[in-house]
């Protein structure tokens, strides 16, 4: 749609489709058809920060996961991690922590499969300018039925893992303050072991598609949304990628640390969010750099760029290949997201394999309790980036403050 605004031509893309969430893009062109301004407007406002005030803390992990339909598990777990601290628990039982991790890797698998196969693959397989009638997952199913089946079945496997750990495929209840409400039965474990090798093989295949696409179209990738940036991610103590827990790391465009291994209870000393009038989404930035230049990338690309290594062999080999493209400097190509996302997809399946072989999942020690606290922060690496959940509770167990950078 083209109209005139402030003497300039206004092009609008509305709604933005094949993405998670709701948005629109506006582009203003001057009289020479030069782009004057481009904006992504996030058009939804819901007000969770205010309306969960007064709710009891144990409701929060179940309630706030309704922030998202694709990655509810991330919000469920980020809130549960904060509520662990609220009930005075610094360390979960091995069974609880591993069940939650299994839930999280199941989710990363399903979300990454959905993102790659259902949403993005039409662009990669048919081209950005392909006919709208075929540029979608149904078009992929018609032209590449095997691939479509793989995408659907990998997503299903991840969703089944979520169901087995959280009780339900979308908006489950598994994580509770201080632990988890079930373990994984032998039958459930065996159900997942049955198809595991198939998942690993398909994940390898998906990684290959994403890698080959990027390498073959490197010139396009360098022209398309190639820009340097800072990157933010949680990181394990030894520098490994860890999607569930760690300290905060930020690196600049050259890979140098801006801050590292930050205890995220102090996140507000490092990160702030700017309000701009034209979007309901706020704009997070690294405080030491400032609102103008402090913005940063998150998600698969940022995590692969920021970590020192990945602790599963196949994903680590893939990470080395990925980093070699940019001589081990942070990769600035937005199209590199696909490749890095599929590295994480394979990593998630490898992690699921590791966990399914762990007898702790059949443990019965599920919940611990400590001394009640009034305030806590929970962070997690959601499929598309770092989530910050910060809550205060009063002596009646009711939420009095919630801050969500999500």
């Amino acid at each position: 749609m083209v109209a005139v605004k402030n003497g300039m031509k206004r092009v609008v893309i509305e709604p933005v489709t094949r993405v998670e969430g709701h948005g629109k893009v506006t582009i203003l062109l001057d009289e020479n058809n030069k782009i004057h301004q481009t904006r992504l407007h996030i058009v939804e406002f819901r007000g969770f920060e205010r309306f969960i005030q007064g709710r009891p803390y144990w409701e929060v992990p179940v309630l706030v996961q309704r922030l998202c339909g694709i990655c509810p598990v991330s919000h469920h777990l980020a809130a549960a991690k904060a509520m662990d601290l609220i009930v005075g628990v610094d360390k979960l039982t091995p069974t609880a922590e591993k069940m939650r991790r299994l839930m999280h890797y199941g989710q990363t698998l399903q979300s990454h499969a959905l993102h790659f196969f259902h949403l993005c693959s039409p662009d990669l397989l048919f081209g950005f300018d392909a006919d709208v009638a075929i540029r979608n997952v149904i078009g992929v199913a018609a032209k590449h039925p095997d691939l479509a089946v793989q995408g659907v079945m990998m997503r299903k496997y991840g969703q089944e893992i979520i169901k087995a750990t959280a009780g339900k495929k979308i908006h489950g209840t598994g994580a509770i303050p201080g632990g988890i409400n079930k373990n994984l039965s032998i039958e459930e474990r065996d159900f997942f072991l049955k198809d595991l090798d198939q998942m690993i093989e398909w994940a390898r295949g998906a990684l290959k598609i994403a890698k080959d696409y990027t390498v073959e179209n490197l010139e396009v990738a360098k022209e398309f949304a190639n820009f340097p940036s800072s990157h933010v991610s949680l990181i394990r103590e030894d520098g490994a990628m860890d999607l569930y827990h760690g300290g905060l790391r930020a690196i600049d465009a050259d890979g140098k640390a801006i801050f590292d291994h930050v205890d995220y209870q102090k996140y507000h000393e490092y990160i702030a969010e700017e309000v701009r009038p034209w979007s309901y989404m706020k704009f997070p930035f690294i405080k030491s750099i400032g609102p103008e230049d402090g913005w940063y990338r998150v998600g698969p690309l940022a995590r692969v760029n920021a970590c020192d290594f990945i602790d599963t062999p196949e994903a680590e080999a893939a990470r080395k290949e990925f980093m070699a493209v940019t001589d081990n400097k942070p990769n600035p190509l937005s199209l590199g997201y696909h490749w890095s996302r599929m590295i994480e997809l394979l990593h998630s399946v490898e992690k699921i394999k590791e966990l399914l072989g762990d007898k702790d999942l059949q443990g019965t020690d599920l919940v611990v309790r400590g001394e009640r606290r009034g305030e806590a922060v929970g962070l997690i690496e959601a499929p598309r980036g770092t989530l910050f959940h910060h809550y205060k509770e009063d002596e009646n167990d009711q939420v009095t403050m919630a801050n969500l950078i999500v």
């Binding site: 489709t17 309704r66 209840t173 997070p284 609102p291 801050n403």
Partner: protein, 163 residues
Amino acid sequence: MSILDIDERILKLVELIEFHKSPINDIKKFSERCAIGLIEGGCCNDENVHVLRDFRKNCDILISVGDCATMGGIPALRNNIPLQECLEEAYINGPTVYNPSGKIPDDEEVPLLLNKVYPCHEVVKIDYHLPGCPPPADTIWEALVALLTDKPVALPYELIKYD
């Protein structure tokens, strides 16, 4: 999103139907009449109302899918609180907010928020309601299959029970 949990049955479904305007393809506007419209989410801003009316105009049968569409759901928790308070909490009072101008987003490019969150049937006529947060994939599947095969939508208890 729950509809995708019909998993491989989606490949069967597309043999029977054609997706028109939807989040999984890039069709942005109705260009032909549709037999069935699925609506998820309630109405929290003027744009939602516009889209919902557009669906009513272009679809023979309109289905509210999920608790947000059928009764406002979790977002309707804000209905007990003045909208201004919700906005101030998010854009002014939050501990990490940086907002030197003290303004709340009000650009003409962002939709105008409604005072309350409204379920779809308070805005247009809705033909069927599928409750749940989300409704299980089987519920959506059974309803679609019934409508596509001209049978009454009769869902067993297991498919419409709640958490």
